[in-house]
Subunit: 232 residues, 2 copies
């Protein structure tokens, strides 16, 4: 055996899992896709979607595979959030977990909730207790989503292609978990110059109706890349 | 064997490493602490400080231990950056690496470079080619440092307790990797209201001297927590 192999083999190995925080936005609420765990320990308790990394796949590939196996969704943008490596985090043995988060597009929201493995959308307002450190993972993902909302435009992933100002405001309110002033929100969001106002109105929620908007994709992308940076 | 153990054991296990991106600031330059790798593969090539996670330690503990073993430094703030899990990233075998980054305080800069394992501070301007994906890790850490500089005050960790405006500007210039306008920088940084101007001058770099400043720790901390958020 070459010396480097010997050197490596003197060190322990670990199970590595991927757990995914899957956000969606529906009916004015930020929601999380969870399911009841199908194996021991903690079988039947609420859990994020997770699974073990396999020999022939990268962490990113494992995250995509697991999302796809549970929800049928492919080509969903996923981003690594944080690694969880406390020694005793899993009562059944040492598992290092790499958490990912995903934003499910509005058009796939219903489909994602139809999985065989009991996927359930729960409102972030009524999030149940999850197994192990999964609640910590969700809190961290929510903090990242909030920070992103503070430095980049968001919504493209979570809203339908055309949306009203009240819908966009509801998304920000759901992420910030607080009510925002309507006039002030409108002013600030329009100042971003990232919205295109359409000629059509959505009349589903009021007689008068609300104008529909869509994102200017080019400007949106530019803002996402550049951020609202405090550049000295 | 309980069924959950059997279930776990049907999955592969991996070596998990920690690699640390260690930044310092000296002589107006942002520097990175690296050393020549002491074992195969790639023995003798430039590398970040890394090591394997052990059975009885968390990822954070492994990062602190490895930093301490190589540099003698303890109680340095470290933050997880990203996990690297490509299948073929290490030619000697599958290793999943969790990258951390650390900012070495000015007072410990010299001490950190005195380690037994050949620690060397290199300027980010003259960064050599590092082994495996270590250059990618450094680039990601630099992006995070830049983003942080854009949304929070920085410098407390990297500057001495008292510093001049040109020193602070040099730090920002080193992070942004571009020259900044002196007057504009001064104006923006003072508008943050996080600096306390002292009565004494540093005359080491000019006859006229430059006033010394220190951070108002309370305001600094508040800005770090709150960020320069674009809050709607």
């Amino acid at each position: 055996m070459p010396p480097e192999k010997q050197y490596y083999q003197a060190h322990p190995t670990f199970h590595v899992a991927v757990d995914s925080i899957i956000f969606g936005f529906d009916q004015g609420e930020l929601k999380l896709l969870i399911h009841k765990r199908q194996f021991e320990p903690a079988r039947g308790e609420w859990s994020l979607f997770g699974g073990f990394v396999q020999q022939d796949e990268s962490l990113d590939e494992a995250a995509s595979r697991i999302l796809s196996e549970h929800t049928g969704l492919r080509d969903i943008y996923m981003e690594e959030l944080h690694s969880y490596g406390e020694v005793d985090r899993d009562p059944a043995g040492r598992v290092i977990s790499v958490a990912y988060f995903a934003l499910i597009p509005a058009g796939e929201f219903t489909e994602a909730g139809k999985s065989k493995s009991g996927a359930t959308w729960v409102s972030m307002e009524e999030l149940p207790s999850l197994i192990m450190d999964h609640n910590q993972m969700v809190e961290k993902a929510l903090r990242r989503l909030k920070r992103r909302a503070a430095t980049q435009p968001i919504g493209f992933e979570l809203l339908p292609g055309e949306f009203t100002m009240p819908q966009l405001q509801a998304l920000y309110e759901a992420i910030y978990q607080s009510k925002l002033d309507k006039r002030n929100f409108r002013k600030k969001i329009l100042a971003m110059e990232v919205l295109i106002k359409l000629d059509t109105k959505d009349k589903s929620s009021s007689k008068k109706g609300a104008y529909l908007y869509r994102f200017d994709q080019k400007k949106y992308k530019k803002l996402v890349e550049g951020g609202y940076n405090f550049t000295i």
